[in-house]
Amino acid sequence: MNEIHLPKTKVAELHAICAERNNDPGELINILHAAQGLFGYLPPEVQQVIATELNIPVSRVYGVVTFYSFFTMTPKGKYPISVCLGTACYVRGAEKVLEEMQRQLEIKVGETTPDGLFSLDCLRCVGACGLAPVVMIGGKVYGRVTPEKVRDILSDYYLKEQ
């Protein structure tokens, strides 16, 4: 396990998040949502802090974190990319878009690029099936994406960074 040292101010905020919900284990999922909002992801140390605050075993926190796909234990990129693999997107060629993304970024699903710019994930249906296949980068939705368009979409972000 990598050593992660949480900044003290953030730990204080995390304590506050738990306290706001009366350190109630029944609120664990809501607390994790808030904690992920604060840190961007849920590393083991964060889970340990929450477990101590709620007075429950860290295994229970870990069990919940790994059960739900919304929670992640790896930091996301500056521009998190999600390729929709809902059925509507799948039948309109989302798999090819995903493959092209992996090739262009040279990472696999669930990974983050070494420069920390992009992370790649799949999601199940954003409900914009009329625009299938759909890719989300941050909050922005790209519709009717084809493998050929992938390079153009990414290069916008590379340009922004330069």
């Binding site: 029944g26 509507a88 493959e99 409900g127 493998p147």
Partner: protein, 596 residues
Amino acid sequence: MAQYTNYILVCGGTGCRASQSEQIIENLKAAVDQYGLEDTQVIRTGCFGFCEKGPVVKMIPDNTFYVQVQPSDADEIVREHLVKGRKVERLLYVNPETHELVPDSKHIGFYKKQLRIALRNCGFINPENIDEYIARDGYVALGKALVEMTPEEVIKEIMDSGLRGRGGGGFPTGLKWQITRKVQAPQKYVVCNADEGDPGAFMDRSILEGDPHSIVEAMAINGYCTGASKGLVYIRAEYPLAVERLKIAIRQAKEYGLLGENIFGTDFSFDIEIRYGAGAFVCGEETALIHSMEGLRGEATVKPPFPSEHGYKGCPTNVNNVETYANIPVILLRGAKWFSSIGTEKSKGTKVFALAGKVNNVGLIEVPMGTTLREVIFGIGGGIKDGKKFKAVQTGGPSGGCLTEKHLDLPIDYDNLLSAGSMMGSGGMIVMDEDDCMVAMAKFYLDFTVEESCGKCAPCRIGNKRLHEILQKITSGNGTEDDLTRLRNLATVIKDTALCGLGQTSPNPVLSTMDNFYDEYLAHVREHRCPSHQCRELTQYFINPEKCKGCTLCARVCPVHAITGDRKIPHIIDPQSCIRCGTCMEKCKFGAIYVH
């Protein structure tokens, strides 16, 4: 207060927002100001349903329907339509058959055949304004229930209407309420299941985004009937817009005294809280959903005890789906008799479907129960994309099955779909054409189930994994006929022995594709061939040297540089490095690339 005579309705659903509808609204407002049109109001509504043609803009009172509007069109719409009184013809919907311009929404085939009950307000009102909901008889049903009716009378009305759960199971809603009512307990809960997990279904989200007050109202009615003072909405965190609008609706209802203490001056008090899901398909199952709300892993437990006896925090809990709730206020207002006059003998009312896949008009539709698949796919859906041939339609998502050409004239209701080997599910309807491989499709759904299985029971956790491995073997060309027998046996065992709805229905895509497309399975195992050329390991791309002009386009678009050849000389594909993405075939202008 300003008096408006003209309204510009702009779709603010997730699909249209992704196509810049927010910018369109801003530009329209700016144009309305610029031309000094004080009698015109721009309103951001919920989803119109016609997502294929989004962003959609509708003019009231004349119902002119503009499609695929760009932010730069705003000025022209206001100037031409409102100032000069001329329609902007280039933005009108074109009838795909007659190629004529359609002047208003009432004449668009997509809407003509629909009957919108659950979606009655979506696309009509501003979901963030309670007054608009009230203006369309909102909260009248709640008032009627609380002031004029006893809980028993309301339950009887719902029972008589024949309403069945719209989340998938199809359990009679009135009966469910009655069971919860009869259990004696100091605290009870009513829950709205808004954990829409079926990939490709988005009706619950659209209702919450387009008409959140109808859910608030219906939950309060449910609370009155079952004796619960607390409502909980379990909603996906992936639906930020729906969450936001629901929060606004709850806040406004509290301000108006429609939630809180002593509603309508009666002794009934009711309050609603939001609980967030975190992305788990199994949480659509009642018991798993309740565990998730308690801050646990969303694992299903054996029923009985049913949630109506032992649910959230051990209290009696009544769980209903969003679409089910959306029907409740209308039933109370217009009566059980009216509602039960719509639909088939055992399935009353309407059903919302998310029509998607290889169909011309992707969108959200609502039709009376008993409408045939043909009317939905070819009438409302406008047929198959790019003039291809219809092959199958998957209803019920990962729990459902594939229906084929022979089922097209089947009237859609709960029981017909079940006996045809599929199910209603939450209403996802994915259309597939001749290019889709049904074995790969079954594998796709299994991918999903394997990932989403909660892991509690062995048939689902291990069985589905094995099913997936066999399908993987078949689609990569290593399958045998014995594998087909094994596939069917295992699928049947899982169906019979899994713990919850997810596991019991997960083999359905496999079984229904085996029943309807056995020849495709045989082609994969006997001839190691994929008839739809979709399974990559079984296909290979070739260039026909007689047709190839040596234009080099394919070599340039190939992402892995597998195509070589000099200018004006037929090119060659290296099968070793080819990843079979098909880009070359799509791009070739001479039809020189073929697949085997």
